[in-house]
Every structure is written in C-alpha cells, then in structure tokens.
Amino acid sequence: MSVWTHEARLLLRARLAVVGLALLAALTIAALAAGSAEVSRQRAAIAAIPAAQAEDIRAVANYVDRSKDAGSAAYYSFLPTWDAPSPLAFAALGMRDVAPYILRVRALGLEAQIYDGDVFNPELALPGRFDFAFVLVFLAPLFVIALCHDLVSGEREAGRLRTLEALPRGGRALLRRRTILRTGLLWLTLTLPFCSAAVFAGVSMANILLVAFVIVSYLLFWVALTVFVGRLNWSSVANAATLAGMWLILVLVAPTLAHVAINNAVPVAQGSEIALAQRERVNAAWDTPREDTMRLFYARHPQWSGSAPLGDAFHYKWYLAFHQNGDESVAASARAYRAGLQRRDAAGRALGWVLPSVGVQALLTRLAGTDLGAQLAYHDRIRVYHRHVREFFYDYLFTDRPFTRADFTKVPTFREPGKDS
C-alpha cells in the first residue's frame, strides 16, 4: 500500500496533474450547478402552471356560463400538459432546451397543436448546453490525454526508461500502477461531485451506479487509447498531437459527418406537410355537406351516432367532429413522421456502439429521459390526454347537456407518468 501512497505523492507533486485535476473538478461542479439550475428553472415553470391556469379558466368559465354551451367551453379552454424533468435530467439536458416541456392543448384538432414550440433563444441553444454530459463526453478525454500521454515517453525522454526496464518485471507494474492511479483520480474527480448532486436530486441508486460505470468505461476507453499510442515509442509531443487529433475526430468530426449521412439516408417527411394537410381537411369541411362530415365521424365513433340531427344553426359538435376527422385523415402520415424520427434517432444511437462519445451521450440522455424517445413519449401522453378531453366534451355536446361553471372542475386534468392511480 505504501507504494501507492508514494505514487500518489509523486503525482500530486507534478503541477500539471494537480492543476488538471482541480480544473476538471471545478468544471464538473460548474456543469452540475448549471444543469441543476436549468432543471429547477423548468420545475418552477411547471409549478407556476396551476395558478396561471386557474386565472385563465376562471375567465373562460365566466364567459361560457352565459351560454352554458359545452362547445364554447371546449373552444376556449386551453388545457396544460407538461413533461417534468426526471431526477437525472440535470446531468444530461438533452433536447429539453429546444423541445417544449409545457404545451397547452384544446379539444380541437391536435395535429395543428402538438408540434408547437415554446419560446427558446436559438443562438443560446446552438452550441449545446454546458452540462455534466458535456464535461464527460467532450472534456474528460482531454484530461486523460494530458495526464497519461507521456507515461512511457516521459520516462524515456528523462533518461529513466532503461533503469525502469531493468527492474524486476520490467517496471511494468510501476507503469500499470501509475495508469490506474491516474484513471482512478480522474474517475473520482468526475464521480464524487456527480454522486453528491445525484443523491441530492433523488436519483435512484441503480442509475447512480450505472452512470458511475459509464464514466469509468468511457475513461478506460480513452486510457486504453492513450496506452496504445504510448506503446508506439513516439515522443511525448507526437503522442499528445496524435491523441488530440483522435479526440477531434472521435468527438467532433465523426458525429457531424454521421449526422449528414443519417439525414441523407433516412428521409423524413416534413412535419409541416402534415400540418398543411390537416388544415386543408379541416377547412374543406366548411364547404362539404354537414351530413357527410357527421356520417364519416359517426362511422368511426358509433357511440355518439344516436345524437340529435343537426339543425340549421351552427353547432359545435359538427365543428369538433370535422376537427377530429381532420386529425384522423392525417393519422397515417403523422405515424410515418414519427417512425422516421425514430429511425433517425435509432441510427444515431446505433452509431454509439462504434463511437464511444456518441454512445455515452445517448446513454446518458436515455437514462435522464431527455432524448427523442422521451419527447415522443410526452407526445403520446398528450395524445391520450387529448382523447380524454375530447370525449369529455363530446359527452356534453352530443347529448346537448348544458355546461355550467361547476362542470369546469370536472374537465380531465393532465396526469404525469408514474402518478396515475
């Protein structure tokens, strides 16, 4: 054991190593703080929904109460849905800075609503967020390179390598010890702050252990690469240059090249074309005989077909029926769009098996529930909720029941996953 403490003392006497480890620790802590701040900002925005919503719905109720028309209630009630960040989201913000996590929907056509974005500053999103995943994927390898690139070549350049090789077992144990020590210290520098933040955020033990394992695997990949380059008997300078070049290719260039390749290989129909088609269907309904619209709607939703026939006057059940017809007419293309996005995402993640940088990023965002899969799952929850809302209002509209102020409290509310009872 004393050999190890001796090695540690040696390492910590090297200024570069100490500065490097301290810098990495500072960056890790800063990234964790930035990620946590962003997540608590998002939580605060979600927590502020009920108050704002209550005010809004009260005003709608005041207005609707005059006519007691369920159609007006459906038309004017914008109902909130949200996607609360998972406990681990602070470590990998993923798409949460560009995809909306709060979306209000009403009982009209969903395809015209579900792709709406929230306000975000694109110039801030462009470079990507400064979170733990960034520090791990982009910066940690540079520290591995800085600390380990000259383990052998440094000794050679200092003229000690011959002496080392003359030691029993050729000094290999010594070099292995040094490598392990450096890797261990780097791992601790990343993992300890992460674990404290994760425990504080209430991340499950399984996920903490998994991330700790991901960190060590990723570090080991870079250490292995460094050791391999070190075996080539080049100078320290050549090692450092080669490794920095590899870093550039593995972390920056290859993913961007792959991005171009994937987008070309997996064409995705433009989402805006779905919105355009849906709008055409919806608006054409104003000029098609209303009975045709209702016939189409009743064929798909026979439970309402016993409703009274339409009179001459405008009736919201017709309006909402053609909105739903519009959604259903583009359902196939909406599914195809979604499938296309999933194929692109799957291709990106498959690349993670070859490119550790991509793999780690994909794994972390998957664990944190901040990737495209999570975004699509949120869309699914919105769709389910929207169906409940529609059916709730239909129950009044198709039976011509009056909608009173008290009925506003019965409108289904959005439920978060895991909180369904």
Binding site: P122, L126, G271, S272
Partner: protein, 479 residues
C-alpha cells in the same frame, strides 16, 4: 532570398517532412470539401423544398372556394423562410429555429419544425459546414503544425546556432510567422473557394462575403500569432502543445457553451404559457367583443355610429361586424407585438451577453461575425418573424375589411337555411391577396452588423502581436 524567407521555407520543409502533419492537412482539405459539398446540397434541397411548400400553400389559399372572409382569417396561410444565401457557408441557427409558420387571425404562432427536432441526437455535436471546419478544426491543425516552431529550436539549442550565424531574433520569429501564415492561407483556401462558389450562384452580397473572408483571415492569423507566441514563451515543445490545446479547448469548446448558460441565467425568458395567459388577462381589461355591455366596445360603437352620422348599426354603410373585427385584430395585435417585443429584447440582451464573452473568446466573436454577415443569426430570424407578423396583420385586416365592405350586416347576422350562402364572397378575392415575399436584407446591413466582432478580432491580433514583440525580445535569453 531574405533570411526571413529562408527560415520560413525551412520551417515549411520540416512540416512537409512530418508525415502525420501532411496526412492531417490532407484530412482538413477533404473535410472542408465534404463540408462544402454537403452544406451546399443541403442548402439547395432546403431552398427548393421551402419554395415548393410555399408555392403549394399559396396555391391552396388562392384556390379556396367562395367563403365568408372571416373563414379565411381562420384558414390562414403557411409561410416558409427561404434560407439566407450564405447559409450554405454558415447556416447558423437555421436548424434550431422553425422555418415554417402558420399565420392566422387572433394568434401569433411560433415558427415550428426546426431541423433540430427532426434530426438524430448527433445534431447537438455540431454541424458539418465550412464555417465549422474553419472555426474549430483549422486552428487545431495549425497548432499541430506550429507548436514547435520556436520551442523546438530552443529545446535543441539550434536557436543559439541561428543567432550565432547572424540572424536576428526578429528575423527568426518573422520567418516562423511567415511559415504559419502560409499554412493558414492554404488551410483557409478550400473553404474560401467554397464560399466563392456558393456565392457565385447567388451573385451580389459582395460586402458580407468580404467581411466573412476578412473575419476568418483575422481569426486564422490570430491563431498563427498565438501559436508562435506560445512556442516562443515556453521551454519545451510538449508544454507548448499542451498549453495551445488547452487554450483551443477553452476558447472554442468550453466558453461558447458556458456563455449561453450564464446568459440564460442572467436574463430569464417568459415562456409561452405565461405569455398567453398574460395576453388573455390584458385582453380582458381591454374589452370583450362578445359582451354587448362592454364599456370599451360600447364606446367604440358610439364613435363608429357618430362617424357615419347614423343611429343604428343596421344603417351603417359598412358591415359593423367587419369594422369590429378590424378593431379587435388591431387591439390584439398591438398586445402581441408588445409581448413579442419584450421577448425579442430579452433574447437580444442574452445574445449581447454572449457577445460580451466574445471579448474573452475569439471563437465566439468569429461565430457571431460569421452568422451576422451570413444573415443566419438571431437578428436574421427576428427579421423573418417581424416580416411574418407584418404580413399576417396586413392579410387579416384586408380580409376583415372585405367583411366590412363586401358582406352586408344583414347577411352577416342572418340565421337560417340560406344564410350561409349569402355571407360568402367570391373566391376570386383570395387570388388577389399579395403573397408573402421575404425581403432579404441589404448586403451593407449584414456587413455592418459584423463590424464590431471584426474589431474585437483585430484587437486580439494587435494584443497577440504586442505580446509577441515582448516574447521576441526575451527569446534565447538564458533562463
């Protein structure tokens, strides 16, 4: 040949003998060509796609049947932002902003369907564009080629020999700088050619292109000076390399990510839900068109009746419902504009903060310069949003005026079987509405927006040169 030239030639010959350096250089050229080709084909595809979609949307609008004008207000229209001509060189935030927008009455919609939501997670690693290659990859290549320029000579004692043979320190440093300059020019050449090819397709925009070329030249020159400077300051090549790579990582990889976090923490943005609720609240205090006893609209009605000198809305020569629609849209749009302006201002402050960090990181300064000159920065997006809103407002009000003038009040309030037909006006009207035409900003304006960053970069070069003068004086001194 002068001594400076000889030293430069010698340095270049040494680089040429370094096989790794040659391979790296070849890779850079290939990468640039790939970036130019892919960026260019993407740009062309996107331009065609958006033009086609715009055309489809316009044709659909024009082909609408006879309708009540207010139906058309709700039918609305889709518009698409054509990519900026220089977006093929630097697409900036194009992938992050939605590029299509649905315009309708009573609502200001967001621009939706940005590429970032339609791509794999890889888009967050950066995009392969000529700008990316020049901003990120080229400096690292220069570092690999040049870190040893002076430190190697110091390390091996050859500097002393050179000085003993009568070369001055200035000549040595000048020679190395010249060599780095040649490398930088060659490294930047493929992308510049690509830019020229891209721009040749569009003509014009000479000024922004000049600013871009000037900006990138200054940036690469800065790295050349910095590399020679660090190489002169340290005793070992290894230290020079580590210091330069660290500098590169901080300036190009770290700071551009940290700055936005600082900005978004310092300047909060109101989200859409908050904005919508606040607008609804303000609207309620303004007045309620549906409430016959509403004080604001009662007063408005009186004023309208007085203006036409009649006693009842039925006697007005125009359709009061249309007049009301015009007034309602005016009021709501004023509110929308106020909240939009607030959001624009907040985002502008955030971007200004990031640009302030650009004083510390030349990479941020260059990125801002490049996007501003290419017209793909936030200001460019805002230009689109503002033109879209102006168009939306004009379109909706035109339709509302049609309701006021071409639909009679009697028909508009009529109920019964035949009422719907009488409310409609000819579908020929829709074809006469002007189409959305995105006005491209003037080249002068684009170039002017990039000037502050050009100054920052120049100041950096000046500072680096001053430090180099200081380092040169001490070069070769016994330490």
């Amino acid at each position: 040949m002068s001594l400076v030239g000889l030293i430069a030639r010698d340095e270049l010959r040494l680089m040429g003998r370094n096989r790794v350096a040659v391979i790296a250089f070849a890779l850079l050229v290939l990468l640039t060509l790939a970036a130019v080709a892919s960026s260019w084909s993407h740009h062309r595809a996107v331009t065609q796609l958006r033009a086609r979609q715009q055309h489809t949307a316009e044709a659909a609008f024009d082909a609408q049947p006879d309708r009540h004008p207010h139906r058309m207000v709700h039918y609305g229209t889709f518009i698409y932002r054509p990519p900026a001509p220089l977006a093929a060189f630097d697409p900036g935030i194009d992938a992050f902003t939605g590029n299509s927008m649905f315009l309708e009455g009573h609502r200001q919609n967001t621009a939706n369907f940005g590429d970032v939501q339609q791509s794999s997670l890889l888009v967050r690693f950066g995009q392969l564009t000529p700008a990316f290659v020049l901003q990120v990859v080229a400096p690292l290549l220069l570092i690999f080629l040049g870190f040893g320029a002076l430190s190697r000579e110091t390390e091996r004692g050859t500097l002393r020999l050179l000085l003993l043979h009568g070369a001055t320190r200035w000549q040595v440093v000048g020679g190395k700088l010249l060599a780095m300059g040649v490398v930088a020019v060659v490294a930047g050449l493929p992308a510049t050619l690509g830019l020229a090819l891209i721009a040749a397709q569009h003509g014009a925009l000479v000024l922004p292109m000049l600013v871009i070329v000037l900006g990138y030249s200054t940036y690469l020159a800065l790295w050349a000076v910095l590399i020679v400077l660090v190489s002169a300051l340290v005793r070992h090549s290894r230290d020079a390399l580590l210091a330069l790579v660290a500098l590169w990582a901080v300036a190009i990889v770290l700071l551009p990510r940290v700055a936005p976090d600082v900005a978004s923490a310092a300047v909060p943005l109101r989200n859409k839900l908050q904005t919508e609720v606040a607008i609804a609240r303000d609207l309620r205090t303004l007045g309620d068109t549906h409430n016959p006893d509403d004080p604001y609209y009662a007063a408005f009605k009186q004023a309208t009746l007085r203006r036409y000198g009649v006693a009842r809305v039925e006697e007005l020569p125009v359709n009061y419902k249309g007049v009301l629609a015009v007034e309602g849209e005016r009021l709501t749009s004023e509110l929308f504009d106020r909240y939009a302006a607030e959001s624009f201002a907040a985002q502008g402050r955030q971007n200004a903060l990031v640009r302030a960090v650009g004083v510390l990181s030349p990479a941020i300064a260059l990125r801002s310069l490049s996007m501003a000159a290419a017209g793909t920065d936030y200001a460019g997006h805002r230009r689109f949003l503002e033109q879209a809103e102006a168009y939306r407002y004009a379109l909706v009000q035109r339709l509302n005026r049609m309701q006021a003038e071409n639909v009679t009040y009697a028909a508009d309030v009529a109920q019964g079987a035949d009422a719907d037909r009488r409310k409609r006006i000819s579908g020929r009207n829709w074809g006469e509405m002007p189409d959305f035409a995105y006005r491209v900003p003037e080249g002068e304006a684009l170039a002017a927006a990039a000037v502050p960053e050009l100054l920052i970069l120049s100041a950096w070069v000046a500072l680096a040169l001053m430090l180099l003068v200081y380092a040169t004086r001490r070069l070769g001194a016994r330490r």
